[in-house]
């Protein structure tokens, strides 16, 4: 089976498992079972009626902003474990909002690459809105607000806000400036995702920022066999996350989708759980360059 088809099937299966309570969209109720105490490794609002699991970013802010705690060991430990094992494989294969963005990108339109500088915005959002504000901006009871969910998260607006306001007239009546702000962010994000592959993942996602940092050491990683590599550049040209796998196989932007490995004419790129030396054997590449010239 082709890698792209396999990935899409796994993305759909992950979406289905993490949003298995579809009938709740009609009633507007939330699933309240035991699974909700566990975090989804991907970004999936827990106020989505269909959601089976808790959103890790929302949960992290909820615990840190609560009266009893200032830091969530449970959620950070979970993200650390998942990140060290899989890195941004989660973004590429499991995240429900990642799948949604890819579907928007399929809409026929001119496609653009994003200047690299914008990819650093997500780290600022992680620090300011997810880590600092929920703990620092507290009320008289010592409770903080989940600032990322409150002011930014378009996944929450799409999966939670729209279905809940559609099914609850009392919530619809309470919409105001904040809802307008979040709807604007959602519309701009969706529009950007039509033209730029995974715009939200690249620029705004704090979860992608965490997994991206852990991509550098993740056990599931990308290896380039530099003996086999002919430096034809097909992998970098194929990558929609604007990564050059030969130069930076552990890039924080790589979502381990495997498109580069599939495009490589020499099978020099491998993805998998390996404890072998990453980016193995380097040589001068003279032989490879000669072969690349022949291919071109």
């Amino acid at each position: 089976m082709k890698n792209a088809v396999k990935r899409k099937l796994i993305q759909i299966a992950a979406f289905g498992f993490t949003n298995s309570h579809m009938t709740n969209f009609v009633s507007g109720k939330l699933y309240t079972g035991k699974w909700k105490q566990f975090c989804n490794p991907g970004l999936n609002c827990y106020s989505c009626p269909a959601a089976t699991l808790a959103c890790p970013i929302g949960a992290m802010q909820a615990v840190a902003g609560s009266m009893q705690y200032n830091f969530s060991f449970y959620v950070v430990g979970f993200l650390l474990a998942v990140g060290v094992l899989l890195g941004r494989f989660i973004c590429g294969w499991i995240c429900p909002f990642g799948l949604v963005q890819e579907l928007f990108y399929k809409i026929p339109s001119p496609k653009f690459r994003l200047p690299r500088i914008f990819t650093f915005v997500k780290y600022g959002i992680l620090v300011v809105f997810v880590v600092v504000l929920p703990v620092a901006a507290t009320d008289y009871m010592g409770m903080g607000q989940p600032a990322f969910c409150q002011y930014i998260c378009p996944a929450g607006t799409l999966f939670g806000g729209l279905p809940m306001t559609a099914t609850h007239p009392e919530l619809r009546a309470a919409t105001g400036f904040l809802f307008g702000l979040k709807m604007t962010i959602l519309i701009l994000t969706v529009l950007a995702c039509v033209f730029i592959f995974r715009f939200f993942c690249k620029t705004l996602c704090p979860l992608g920022a965490i997994y991206g940092l852990l991509n550098k050491i993740s056990i599931y990683h990308l290896d380039v066999d530099r003996h086999s590599c002919i430096k034809c550049g097909k992998c970098a040209h194929t990558c929609k996350m604007d990564v050059d796998p030969v130069k930076t196989p552990d890039s924080a932007e790589c979502i381990r989708c495997g498109a580069c490995a599939a495009a490589c004419p020499r099978q020099a790129i491998r993805l998998g759980f390996r404890l072998s030396e990453p980016h193995a054997a380097q040589n001068g590449g003279a032989d490879s360059r000669t072969e690349a010239n022949k291919l071109q």
């Binding site: 808790a54 904040l178 030396e277």
Partner: protein
């Protein structure tokens, strides 16, 4: 095994051990209840009303 590979594995193991300890500690002090309580109620901030 080359030194850089050894270092990478050591870092991976250290992070995994730290992650497990954090999960155990967080669970032990009752964070799961806070997560569940937030997740089973409508999060007004998440849906744009908070």
């Amino acid at each position: 095994m080359q030194p850089s590979n050894k270092k990478r594995i050591l870092v991976q193991c250290a992070f995994l051990i730290a992650a497990v300890l954090m999960i155990v500690h967080g669970t032990g002090r009752g964070e799961i209840a806070t997560v569940w309580n937030k997740a089973v109620n409508i999060c007004l901030e998440c849906i744009g009303l908070g």
